[in-house]
Amino acid sequence: MTPQLSSTQATSESVAKSALDLVHHAIEHAKHYLPTQGPIAVFIHHNTLHAFEHLPFDEAVLEGFRTYGSQPYWPESRYREEMARGRILDTDLQAVVLHDLGGSAANDVLAGTSQYNLRINMLRDPVLTGSDAELRWLFAESDAIERFRNGVDPMKRTEMIKATRRWIMRDLQPHLSDTEAAIPSSLKSVFEAFPMRKLETWGESTWQQLTLQLLWRVCQNGVHSTRPFSSPSHSFNRHRDVLLKLSHFDCDLQVHDLLIRFTSAFLDQGFAAWSVPQRSEGYYQCFLSLFAEKSPWTEKWLEPLKAIIASERQSGANPTESIVRSLAALGVSQNDFEKYIKKTLLALPGWTGMVEQMATNASWTLHPAPKESLEEFLAVRLILDRLAAKHCLDEHLSHRAIPLPDLLSIGSSSERYNPRRKTVQQRAFDLFQLAQRSAWSPHTLFTWTSAEWQNVVDAIGSFDDFERRRMFHLAYEYRYRTQMLDAIAEHSVFPLKMPSDVSVQVITCIDDREESFRRHLEELDSSIETFGAAGFFSVPMYFRGAADAHFIPLCPVIMTPKNFVEEVGPLSAKQAEARRTQSRMLLGIASKTFHLSSRGLMSGVLTSLLGSLNAFPLVARVLFPRLTAQIRSKFGRLVRPTVATQLRLEHAEDSETTDKGVEGFTLEEMANMIERLIVDIGMQDRFAPLVLVFGHGSSSLNNPHESAYNCGACGGGRGGPNARAVAQIANDPRVRALLKKRGLEIPETTVFVGGYHNTCDDSIEYFDIDRIPLTFSSRFLAAHEIIEKARRRNAHERARRFYSLELTCTDEVAQRHVERRSEDLAQVRPEYNHATNAACFVGRRGRTRGLFMDRRCFLTSYDPTTDDAETSILLRIMQAVIPVCGGISLEYYFSTVDNVGYGCGTKLPHNITSLLGVMEGATSDLRTGLSQQMVEIHEPIRILYIFETMPEAILSIMTRNDLIDRYIGNHWVQIATLDPNSNTIHLFQGKQFELYTPGPGQLPTVSDSLDWYRGWREPLGFAKVQSKGFVSLPKVANEVLR
């Protein structure tokens, strides 16, 4: 080998190596943009635009639009509807435009018209636009140049006509017959259509017509010499995009049809009765072996696949090299690798994202995918892309004879049409409309210099569709924020609203859905005090119920539990229990057999011959869901474990310890957990005799997203076991002794009881009530009675949002209705989950107690007076509530503003696939996000946090925690603070806190919640509930926070 040769070889090798690196790098880069929703059995709310959190919200949503093509805000028309119904006020628009422009608000675009005026005018009335053809039609066929637009102030109209008239009579009349240049000939042609000799006898309408026609002509002339305002275009084409443009044939349809079928088979978690052969060899190999053969009926575009697979195998069948080969065959230059790969991976985002999730984040599933699956997926996808593009060229563009590698350059050289760049006619029409509204008469416009024209065109162009929607969105948020902050400022005045003699304390999750439940409890009995803590109640664990197959984690997803807790039956009933387990198993096997055999060949015959028996459950379940559920539960009771189970919470000597964790907790750990819970919510110095802890969850039928309705703090699980564990631990005298040593004394006269609140049917279930000391029974029963009432009222308050129930119904009817909802197969809105969530209050309940917040506010208990100087409790709380509540708020935001792009569309055609997610109909991309039915009543705003603390504390926490800093600093959430000692509020604006001046508003006062929400379906404002029971205690001495 000559040295020369070896050097070329070395270069080519290094080139190949760098190409491989580029591919790796590009995939790593593109990964972040894929949806991160995992298998649907565990649905965790998260920020849909997680990948863009490093950017400010306003930029991120635009970046999201460029990346996914999904809308950043609602359409302008929707905001206008909200304006029409009074949800956005004109004053809101003024405030946000003024604030947004800051110092430049008063800058003149023109003499007499400030930037602010121009923008407000553009927001108040829609600036219509259309294609040139539409505009031509408008001027030819409608009265656009005969009458002023609707909504133009009559005063301004008269003023404009008058000014024009003066101008013509005074200045133009003498020149009309001149041949030379006092008036441009284009204007003269306007006059030609009018009887100029009888000028003095014209009526109002003739002058109006002339004014408008002059205006239109002047606008056209003036705009002609301006440059359109242009924003950079970011479009990058894949082959499919170019082909779509050239041939109107979408080759992704073919590719996706096959790719979806294969990917879903590869990822299947045990739905198909026959899983794909060779699955263990990874995505790429599995594909190669399955498609290596050609059958006589292979679809035409796939015919060369056999040859390609053979050559792939020959060259070593390495997926990364295969990607490089495919990119070369497609003619993608190395510089474009990153963009091309990103765009390719985002062509089918749901499935691609799921491949990545299954490869990296799903070790707990039955069949996780191998680590490098995404790369292998891309290799396969590019092979198919190649085939489809080639086929499309041959089939539909054969007459142009374009070689495949040249396609991209053709695509990029063809005209780059930027839809945001306006044509002359469009620019002129913008001005024409604005001129009417701002009373710019033709003669003013006539005198503008070309620099002035350019100025105006730029000012209009820069305030484009997105900017206007951003303003509307800000105003929409502004309205709610103002209401909320004003209400808090007025309501949270000292003294704290505390029960005089606390008889019962109730701890629930911070969930917005518990706000009403807590309010009703407090209204019903003034001696009840409520607290909100993250719903896993500081007990992170793997839990397995007595009738469950697997342990599931019950804690926020960011934590990994270390302890296993099991629900076990009583020793005395061991045999009976074993029998039940046995019969459950038999029933389970029977139903599995039926499930499978009904789909089989011969076994299906038998099941379907007997199938007419199905008519009874079919009719019963559809027509009488609640009754059917009751009957089913009666029968189910025969095999359900006995009620007398308990949690095996404590670590025993002989307990198993695996690498995943240990069985049970030590006493020390238990004491820590209780201490954490009690201190975080600030309950340490006052214990009522009865403390109820309620976890929550939700159960509904025919709802693939059921897990999303459960407790987010329990990782999409049901929080009952955590509440039960808290009660069991806190009642343990040994734990109490340990706590006492640490200075936290739980009096002997206090009993904890755990419970579970089902937010769908508003049922409440208690645990271990047989272990409540008998001396406490009457107390418990009394509390139980109130809770029964409260849950019914809660159901009633919820029911006002359901259009299928009369507003005038009673509590009992509402209760039955929500029970029916949770059991109804035909119900696509079993409950509204977090829809309408808008705020999060972190502070003492005493400051918001008695404030009607319409189930829109997360309520976290936190006592600033007991926190240390570093506000370490607050930091801890913020670490949980900022990403969790923020994630919920943002997921709802994006799924609402673009339900098809960011959400998963309507639920009605959803089709569960591979036990991983839902498709729309027979085949589609895997749909992530929330469904239309979940968000239809939601108001898309960023969540408003109010922390009862000093602004400095938040600023200091921001410097200590990156994630919090990103969320707050980039305005993904809104932040305000409420002074612990007064009702002063600071609002985080820009980069700092500013003092908030509340408006003069007076909160309406009502005697109870019903009084306020009665007869109303829409979202409701705030009100002060002046229930009889409230006693205000004298101001508690507060330590000043530093």
Binding site: S247, S264, A265, G270, F271, A272, A273, W274, S275, P277, L290, E293, S295, W297, E299, K300, L366, H396, L397, D548, A549, G588, I589, S591, K592, S598, G600, L601, G604, T607, S608, L609, G611, L613, N614, A615, P617, L618, V619, R621, V622, L701, N702, P704, Y803, S804, L825, A826, Q827, V828, L908, P909, H910, N911, T913, S914, L915, M919, G921, A922
Partner: protein
């Protein structure tokens, strides 16, 4: 005697209450003043209950009087006496039609009630129920049809409403493309049906089943056709049935039809529409008796479809496609039963299967929960792995078979290659010829070439 004089009235009620419902729904949409969901629900329920009770009353009367066949003549819709053509409408009540009509009404009623709340506040609520009403009328007509024309009328309504509901989400491309595919295959089936009807008319100058199948009540009738005619007519009818019921080679449309809202998938492709083809075979079963060759064709077609559907069904990973193939398996077995002359069994099979499958489809979205419940009861993960029989096959056979299953037996590409492409090619050729011809006629001798790509791609 007096009792049976009620039958015509009841027969009219059975058919006209759905028709009135259809007209009401259509009219209110036409004048642009849609009624409330509640009001529409009341109309729907009344129409179905009225129709159902009328049918049940007829059944009761027939049981009391011991009659096994009642015919309600509704006269001619079109009559051209000169050429002896009449489009004759009549209803027949016998052991086949009465159970089928009751099944249709019960399922439509249940699924209708389901859809009333499932589609609550959906933008296409009215549109859905318009198609639903059309389907209901079609189903009742087809079940009770006493002449082949009446059956055709019902058959067409069912086909039209099915295709419209597949394409219910008209803003997305896939449902529309799939709807078109369903529609195209239905048209093929319709053409075969029409050909059969014309052939029958040609023989007897009328399409009355009582004349065609002899005067005995179903299933005993005897067709008055020669073996040759029976084979011809039977083959056409078999093609029609295969198209409507998704048998080989038309099976490709069935999983694609799962595009609409869940209740429409349940009622159409799980329960009723998919059985309409086999119902047709049952109705004309005396013709099958005439020709052994025809019967064996029916059996073979059924067997092939059943095996293919069973294999394809096993690899489906989404619940609706899996249920579609499961449906197809049973429908094919019903076809086999018909081929063997087991008519009562086939009827019972249809009824049982329709009920079971609609319940399964209606609760398909609850799959995750059902699996969890089963897992918990059994105490371990449900993993089916692979059927035992697969283990016996060699590796390459496994791969080939799996590939065939995942490609759904290559049926779609087969249809594309054998029917769609030649069809498009042929008509593009005609197009070219016609242009050349007209150009020549108009005197311009320069023939402008027309690109083949102008033709539809579907």
């Amino acid at each position: 005697m007096i009792l049976s004089s009620w039958i015509p009235l009841l027969g009219y009620i059975t058919v006209f209450s759905p028709i009135i419902f259809l007209l009401v729904v259509g009219f209110q949409l036409l004048i642009g003043r849609p009624m409330s969901e509640f009001a529409l629900g009341r109309w729907l329920k009344s129409a179905i209950i009225l129709s159902l009770f009328a049918t049940l009353a007829i059944l009761a009367i027939m049981l009391v009087t011991g009659s096994r066949r009642e015919i309600v003549d509704m006269g001619n819709m079109v009559a051209i006496d000169r050429v002896h053509f009449h489009f004759h409408i009549s209803l027949i009540f016998d052991r086949l039609s009465v159970p089928m009509a009751i099944l249709s009404l019960v399922l439509c009623g249940t699924v209708g009630a389901f859809a009333l709340s499932y589609l609550h506040r959906d933008a296409g609520f009215q549109r859905f129920f318009l198609s639903f009403a059309m389907f209901l009328v079609g189903m009742v007509m087809a079940s009770l049809a006493g002449t082949i024309e009446t059956l055709f009328l019902g058959w067409e309504l069912v086909g039209l409403s099915s295709a419209l509901l597949v394409a219910y989400y008209q803003e997305r491309p896939t449902p529309v493309a799939n709807g078109l595919r369903v529609w195209a295959i239905y048209r093929l089936a319709d053409a075969a049906f029409l050909a059969a009807a014309v052939a029958l008319h040609h023989q007897h100058s009328e399409g009355n089943f009582s004349v065609l199948m002899g005067n005995e009540a179903w299933p005993a009738g005897k067709a008055s056709l020669s073996e040759g005619t029976a084979l011809l007519v039977g083959t056409f009818l078999l093609i029609a049935a295969a198209g409507k019921s998704g048998l080989v080679p038309f099976s490709g449309w069935l999983p694609r039809a799962m595009e609409g809202p869940t209740p429409s998938s349940a009622i159409f492709y799980g329960a009723l529409s998919v059985h309409l083809g086999v119902f047709l075979l049952l109705r004309v079963s005396p013709i099958l008796d005439q020709s052994a060759l025809l019967s064996s064709m029916v059996i073979i077609l059924g067997l092939v479809s059943a095996i293919l559907a069973a294999i394809a069904g096993r690899v489906q990973t989404d619940v609706k496609s899996a249920l579609a193939f499961a449906s197809l398996t049973q429908v094919s077995i019903i076809v086999v039963e018909i081929g063997f002359g087991l008519r009562y069994l086939a009827l019972i099979h249809i009824i049982g299967h329709a009920c079971m499958r609609s319940l399964q489809l209606l609760r398909a979205p609850t799959l995750m929960r059902d699996y969890k419940t089963m897992e918990n009861a059994i105490g371990k993960s449900l993993d089916h792995g692979s059927p035992w029989i697969i283990g016996w096959l060699s590796r390459s056979t496994q791969l080939r078979l799996y590939r065939c299953a995942i490609e759904r037996g290559y049926l779609d590409s087969m249809l594309d290659a054998c029917i769609v492409r030649p069809f498009i090619r042929l008509f593009s050729m005609f197009n070219r010829w016609e242009r050349a011809w007209t150009q020549w006629l108009s005197g311009s001798h320069k023939v402008i070439p027309i690109a083949v790509e102008d033709a539809s791609h579907e």
